[in-house]
């Protein structure tokens, strides 16, 4: 199945999803910067409200059957071009063992007090990785069986991988 077929299939079911276009260099970019690069598989943007249905469809539909969560993470976009609000993107990389196709889903969320439905019931791999995202970015996952810090200790101040994280010097800095 090509990326286009995959996308139209998904769009028939969930009309709110959008395809993220291949990045283009700005018209006045200097030549030494080179052409922007992105992997060739399908990139989808999905609003947070419908992510639960979308994930269920991606996993359970026979024609897509994304049974393997390669990995998930988040990206903090603190500085955005004028006119956009700062956001964080939660990224899911999915793979289907049955059809050997891939798909990337990005879910934009607000930076403060953001909440997102958990996928730990669909892909068990999301269990620890969502905990890691919570640990590093402070994004909460609704319905997660055991949402607590995983790499940092309980009570650690702040969310380390956010772009505005400020390190408080402690005894290890001497």
């Amino acid at each position: 199945m090509t990326s286009q077929e995959m996308f139209s299939l998904l769009q028939n079911q969930i009309p709110q999803v959008k395809e993220i276009p291949y990045p283009q260099a700005p018209a006045n970019a200097p030549a030494h910067e080179g052409k922007p690069y992105r992997d060739s598989h399908l990139y989808i943007s999905c609003p947070v409200e419908i992510w639960k249905n979308c994930a269920k469809f991606l996993k359970e539909d026979d024609r897509l059957s994304f049974d393997f969560l390669t990995f998930m993470t988040a990206i903090d976009y603190l500085k955005v071009p004028a006119g956009e609000t700062p956001r964080m993107d939660v990224v899911y990389h999915l793979f289907s063992f049955k059809y050997r196709h891939k798909c990337v889903i990005k879910i934009p969320v607000v930076r403060e007090n953001s909440e997102l439905p958990s996928c730990a019931n669909l892909w068990k791999a999301a269990d620890w990785q969502e905990r890691e995202v919570y640990d590093m970015f402070g994004i909460k996952f609704e319905g997660h069986p055991n949402l607590k810090r995983i790499l940092m200790w309980d009570g650690f101040p702040g969310w380390p991988l956010r772009k505005d994280y400020v390190h408080i010097p402690d005894r290890y800095d001497d």
Partner: protein, 376 residues
């Protein structure tokens, strides 16, 4: 003298749940892993791995370092197979920069990565024996590993953190006579695999401890995102070298060993077979080592264009990936490492339940984790 039995009030023979703390300073946890085990008598009713003791914040560090500087840090994830870590970082940056590595560079990379795979699996073989209670295999495994480290020392100068594979190629071409030394090592190691089978693989005591223990079903493995020998032990033939060849792996002839039952012995057996396959790959690579340059032309200041790339490869522990986002400057905007050990370790909370406490170490050892990679 008589022994007096003291009965404390309320402490009679009623069974209650017991909490056992395994680690973080236990030698068989292979580093600093703590597992909290809830037990009913000898049977485990719940287990919760507690990680993060070795967390160094690689992903945050990468945002303040240039692309070549990150290579040094990549050595420290899975320190038993630093070559794979170097390679995956280079693959990700090369993808962004749309660079093509010359044939000789690619073949050299494959030789190094496969030698490293043998060294890494040898550590597994040795330490797994110790976990089970057989000390001798460890001495054999480290004798062999020493020879591989000597080979690496000659090409890169280092024995653990090689930093040999660089963006655009490799650090330097092979020293004189290295190919000969490598060949004689391969000839020397082939009969050693027979020794391993006699020592451990077919050893009845070892089989008693591992066959049928810690069964990981195919469905569970896929749902947990398990990759590498653990997934292949469960009967799924999935190897990045075959399924999505990188660095010219498609030109090599080798088999992907697959287990049947998904128990500890199958996971062990897959790794032993993989070493033999790696020997085959290195032999083919040495036979067809192309002449010419080993480095592509790389600008002095590495500043990849805007965009994002995900590169992954088959590390000794599974699918190691780098998700790299560039904003066009000389430092990455965001780096995410997909660490196979971290994701494989998550099955521990399910696979241990219902097992006896004596099997915990056997199961933990068979997953083969490196805590440097789990915590990053």
């Amino acid at each position: 003298m008589t022994t007096e039995i003291i009965r404390l009030p309320g402490q009679d023979l009623s069974s209650e749940e017991m909490i056992l703390n395994l680690g973080p300073q236990h030698p068989s946890t292979h580093g600093v892993l703590r597992v909290v085990l809830r037990m009913d008598g000898e049977v485990i009713t719940g287990s919760e791995p507690d990680i993060g003791y070795l967390h160094r914040g690689t992903e945050k560090l990468s945002e303040n370092r240039t692309y070549p500087q990150m290579l040094v840090i990549s050595d420290r994830w899975d320190y038993l197979s630093a070559m794979s870590n170097n390679l995956v970082w280079c693959l990700a940056v090369e993808k962004l920069m749309q660079l093509e590595v010359p044939q000789r560079g690619q073949t050299l990379r494959i030789i190094m990565v496969e030698l490293n795979r043998i060294a890494s699996h040898l550590v597994f073989f040795g330490t797994y024996g110790i976990d089970i209670g057989a000390y001798t295999p460890f001495l054999y495994a480290f004798r062999e590993r020493e020879k591989i480290l000597d080979l690496f020392e000659e090409v890169s100068g280092a024995r653990l953190t090689y930093n040999y594979i660089r963006i655009g190629g490799v650090m330097a071409d092979l020293p004189q006579d290295w190919v000969g030394k490598c060949r004689s090592f391969l000839e020397w190691i082939k009969p050693r695999f027979v020794e391993y089978d006699i020592l451990l693989t077919e050893n009845p005591i070892f089989k008693d401890r591992t066959v049928g223990v810690g069964i990981l079903t195919k469905e569970k493995a896929l749902s947990y995102g398990v990759t590498g020998p653990n997934l292949r032990g469960s009967g799924v033939s999935f190897d990045m070298r075959k399924d999505e060849p990188y660095s010219g792996y498609d030109k090599f002839q080798f088999e992907v060993p697959v287990g049947k039952n998904g128990d500890c012995w199958d996971r062990y057996w897959v790794r032993i077979q993989e070493m033999k396959e790696s020997v085959k790959i290195i032999e083919q690579a040495l036979d067809h080592l192309p002449e010419g340059e080993c480095n592509a032309k790389v600008p002095r200041l590495i500043r990849p264009p805007k965009g994002e790339a995900y590169a992954h490869l088959e590390a000794p522990r599974g699918m190691l990936g780098i998700y790299l986002i560039s904003d066009g400057t000389e430092k990455p905007y965001r780096v995410h490492v997909r660490p196979p050990s971290f994701i494989n370790l998550a099955i521990l909370q399910e696979i241990l339940v219902g097992m006896k406490v004596a099997d915990v170490i056997a199961i933990l050892g068979s997953i083969d984790i490196v805590l440097g990679e789990v915590d990053r």
